[in-house]
């Protein structure tokens, strides 16, 4: 944990102070050298496995097939030229990475999801991105624009094989209620480097759910800042890393407006040799952000030997005038007492483990609250468990 009290810089320059965990951004690609892995924001990432996406890999013509449903009143379209350029940065994103700056300046087209003001849609927009070739390095820009007082759910569903750098920008209008789900259910050879940036309007409710289960390397940064008081952000994550997989989530909530709320709940499970997960949760409470409330939590369940779960919650507080700020992180194996309790009711050990893992994720799935995805998410957990948990010799559970 890092807490920095008021310092000289903030006293002099209240508006400009930024988190040391989140370097100042720039739209100019030349301001961003290719990362070497020693930078704070890159030190957990296996850059060598990213196929150059974080540096200077060529952004080739996309081979990913994209399709979607279009609820009435919503505009979803691939746009280019002037219109595409006008959508770059609608979340206020000023990239702090080379790939972020490159996506904004180099990618010719953009996939816009536009929900007009006051439109409330019950049916989720599901955008399918099906990767066809992990040998092609590509990049995409997806702006999701939600007008004032609109209400909508957008799901980005990534499957197949791809090597993708991506920027997703979310603009949540005043009073809007928005859920964005990004599902990374890639094939084993996929590499996905993605930055989600959201700006949350006055009194708006933003829910973001990151679900990462497939791919060789998945790194997602999910950032939020506010455009007025009263906004709230609920940042959820569910991930499952298998043998050799690297799944990394960074979270950055910038409380830059008063009376804003944020809540983060990320849960992950790991199984198999070399399964590696990283969770970095950064919350910055600026001087201006009086009366805010924030809580971040990350829990990891280590199912077998040979896994590594890194979990780093950070909180930087520049004002004491807040309602609440807290964080929690826990990484552990199966709880012997839980297993004993279930088994003492006749439930076999493997079934008991399955119940515990399902239970671990069930609360989160309920919080994500997208009915159309509930069953899919439960299946994902069940499928992951089928892979391994049934036949692992696990000394710690029975000794």
């Amino acid at each position: 944990m890092t807490v920095t009290a008021d310092n000289v810089t903030s006293a002099l320059e209240a508006e400009k102070v930024s988190s040391h965990l989140h370097p100042e951004g720039s739209l100019d690609v030349n301001d961003h050298p290719a990362p070497n892995g020693r930078e704070e924001i890159w030190r957990f990432t296996p850059l060598k496995r990213l196929r150059g996406l974080a540096a200077d890999a060529e952004f080739q013509a996309s081979t990913t097939e994209t399709s979607w449903n279009t609820p009435e009143g919503v505009r979803i379209a691939n746009v280019s030229g002037e219109e595409a350029r006008g959508l770059r940065g609608i979340s206020g994103l000023v990239p702090n990475t080379r790939f972020g700056a490159r996506v904004l300046s180099e990618v010719p087209s953009t996939l816009l999801v536009d929900v007009p003001s006051d439109l409330e849609i019950a049916e989720p927009v599901i955008v399918d991105l099906v990767g066809k070739d992990a040998g092609v390095t590509e990049a995409g820009h997806i702006p999701l624009r939600f007008g004032a007082h609109s209400s909508a759910v957008v799901v980005l569903r990534h499957t197949g094989s791809a090597s993708m750098a991506q920027v997703v920008e979310v603009a949540v209008g005043d009073g809007a209620r928005v859920t964005v789900v990004s599902l990374q259910d890639w094939a084993d050879d996929a590499v996905h480097l993605t930055h989600h940036e959201a700006v949350v309007g006055r009194d708006a409710e933003y829910k973001h759910a990151a679900i990462s289960v497939g791919g060789d390397v998945v790194r997602m940064d999910s950032n939020v800042h506010y455009d007025g008081p009263g906004g709230s952000a609920n940042m959820l994550g569910l991930y499952f890393a298998d043998e050799g997989q690297h799944i990394e989530h960074h979270l950055y909530v910038d409380h830059d407006a008063p009376h804003t709320n944020s809540n983060a709940n990320y849960r992950g499970a790991l199984q198999g040799e070399g399964a590696h997960t990283v969770w970095i949760g950064n919350v910055l409470i600026r001087k201006v952000a009086a009366g805010i409330n924030t809580y971040e939590e990350n829990r990891n369940l280590v199912l077998t030997d040979g896994c590594q779960a890194d979990s780093v919650p950070n909180l930087e507080i520049e004002t004491g005038e807040i309602e609440g700020a807290g964080h929690a992180s826990a990484t552990g194996r199966f709880d012997d007492n839980q297993l004993f309790y279930l088994r003492s009711r006749g439930i076999e050990e493997n079934e008991a483990r399955r119940l515990v893992v399902h239970g671990f994720f069930n609360d989160l799935i309920r919080q994500i609250g997208v009915e159309a995805l509930d069953e899919k998410l439960r299946d994902i957990v069940a499928d992951e468990l089928e892979k391994n948990v049934l036949d692992i010799p696990f000394e710690a559970a029975t000794n």
């Binding site: 279930l342 088994r343 003492s344 006749g346 439930i347 076999e348 050990e349 399902h358 239970g359 671990f360």
Partner: protein, 252 residues
């Protein structure tokens, strides 16, 4: 017909200073239709006896035997013991977040019976049992033991006892922490279970209070890892007035 037979049971736990013997030779036979009460002061090893019978991994059996109808219980895994017909109502039931009571009960029933219960009668059975234990029907949608009050946890244990219907049940201080109303409700549940006449019950308690509602056939005084005295229900009355002092002094 079922008989739980415990012979010269020795059990130790690991401590920082090496293994420590808690049970120092316990012999006890529970036949069906019999209710045995084990009473004793704190730290006498009562709960260790309960958990050892259930097979908690924390306890090492270093000697003796436990059999259920002649079958070697100690050779069975925890879940095998339950499927063989043993049940332990725990003093401190464990929270299992995200697993609903209804899912848990159905999974346990399926495991014990070897087949899924018939849906229609099962739902009726569950709701009826919960109702008799003064538990709201919404109780079954809650996560197992999470956020339950002390009384709800104990009533949930007894609901499991009734629904899983074992041959021999061990109740580990089920009465502790219950107010008098909850104690009555829980006792009625236990009495419904033992009505069957082919059931054995081992009731572990610190207080005589519950014995007003559940009538034991035998009372054993447990001190320092052994049975120090045994007799009929009158022994409980004697303990009520005299306490454990004379046994504790004798054991030192």
């Amino acid at each position: 017909m079922s008989t739980l037979e415990i012979k010269d049971l020795h059990v130790s736990v690991k401590t920082e200073d090496g293994p420590k013997e808690i049970l120092k030779g316990v012999t006890l036979t529970i036949k069906d239709g019999e209710i045995h009460a084990i009473m004793g002061p704190n730290g006498s090893g009562k709960s260790t006896l309960a958990y050892s019978i259930a097979g908690h991994p924390k306890y090492d059996v270093t000697g003796g035997t436990v059999t259920l109808d002649g079958e070697d219980v100690l050779a069975m895994s925890v879940d095998e013991r339950a499927r063989a017909g043993l049940f332990l109502a725990m003093q401190y039931p464990v929270e299992v977040p995200g697993v609903s009571v209804s899912n848990f009960l159905r999974t346990a029933k399926t495991a014990i019976d070897g087949e899924a219960p018939k849906l229609r009668t099962w739902v009726k059975d569950v709701n009826g049992t919960l109702e008799k234990l003064d538990l709201d029907a919404s109780f079954s949608t809650r996560s197992v033991n999470e956020g339950f009050s002390g009384g709800e946890k104990k009533r949930h244990e007894i609901a499991q006892l009734e629904l899983l219907d074992p041959k021999v049940a061990v109740l580990d201080e089920t009465d502790s922490g219950l107010d008098i109303d909850a104690l009555k409700v829980v006792s009625e549940g236990v009495n419904r279970f033992t009505e069957g006449a082919d059931k054995g019950l081992l009731l572990i308690t610190h207080y005589t209070r519950i014995l007003r509602y559940i009538k034991p056939d035998f009372v054993h005084v447990f001190v320092n890892g052994r049975i120090a005295d045994q007799g009929g229900p009158e022994l409980a009355d004697q303990l009520e007035s005299e306490g454990y002092d004379k046994y504790v002094k004798a054991a030192v």
